[in-house]
């Protein structure tokens, strides 16, 4: 993986990279339920689409890093 070349370049080992990555986000370890009783998750996603800001766009561009 190219990630390993990048890591070697700045002398960090793989474990450090993964440990830093694991600590860079506030993970919540409480287990969630699968879906609502009718399996459609309607309460969870109710009106979700209506509230999406469609004016936000992202430009697709060439990515430099590969794995």
């Amino acid at each position: 993986m190219k990630i390993l070349n990048l890591i070697k370049k700045d002398n960090r080992d793989k474990c450090t990279i993964y440990q830093n990555a694991n600590n860079s986000f506030d993970f919540d370890y409480s287990v969630q339920s699968g879906a609502d009783d009718n399996g459609k998750d309607e309460p969870l996603f109710k009106n979700a689409n209506k509230n999406i800001d469609m004016s936000v766009t992202y430009e697709m561009k060439e990515v430099d890093y590969y794995a």
């Binding site: 793989k14 993970f27 699968g34 879906a35 509230n51």
Partner: protein, 173 residues
């Protein structure tokens, strides 16, 4: 991803997150799944190459595609099981199921993504990665993992769609 790279990832990320799930929730078991997850990852990665016509073997896959393949691999292998799951007189409902494997799949893949970002730029090492807010009544992680759950139940998991989601998340930072 070569096997020794995957083994590092398995030991330092998949098992670590799984252990924390077990410590925080009673009645769950983790099953060693390195061989299964790696094999499924290779299947997903190779299928993605075929579907996206990435035929040049010298050009590696983008990191968001690698994370998508890893998400599907963990999700399909389901390394964590729930002891109490049962179906008495057909009473099992989807709301009785849990999304712990979906959460694990996303946490591990998200860690991998952050690892890629941090490996590419030392300045991001101390950065806190906060996922985008949602406009409805639950946060991004719960929405995403429950969507993975429903997609898996419906046999409609799409690694290519997941790759697009990861790419959009990359653009967020």
């Amino acid at each position: 991803m070569r096997r020794d790279d995957f083994n590092d990832f398995y030991e330092n990320t998949i098992k670590r997150h799984a252990q924390l799930f077990l410590e925080n929730n009673k009645g769950y078991n983790f099953h060693e799944s390195a061989d299964r997850i790696y094999e499924e990852y290779l299947n997903q990665k190779t299928l993605m190459r075929l579907v996206l016509e990435k035929n040049n073997i010298n050009q590696l896959l983008d990191r968001h595609k690698v994370c998508a393949a890893m998400t599907v691999a963990i999700l399909k292998c389901r390394p964590i099981t729930c002891e109490s799951i049962n179906d008495v007189d057909g009473s099992f409902k989807l709301s009785d199921a849990c999304t712990v494997n979906e959460q694990l799949a996303f946490y591990c893949s998200w860690s991998l993504m952050i690892g890629f970002i941090q490996a590419s730029s030392a300045s991001t090492e101390k950065k806190k990665f906060v996922l985008p807010p949602t406009t409805h009544n639950d946060n991004f992680v719960n929405t995403f993992t429950r969507s993975l759950f429903v997609a898996n139940v419906q046999n409609s998991l799409s690694p290519e769609l997941l790759a697009n989601i990861y790419f959009t998340l990359l653009c967020h930072f």
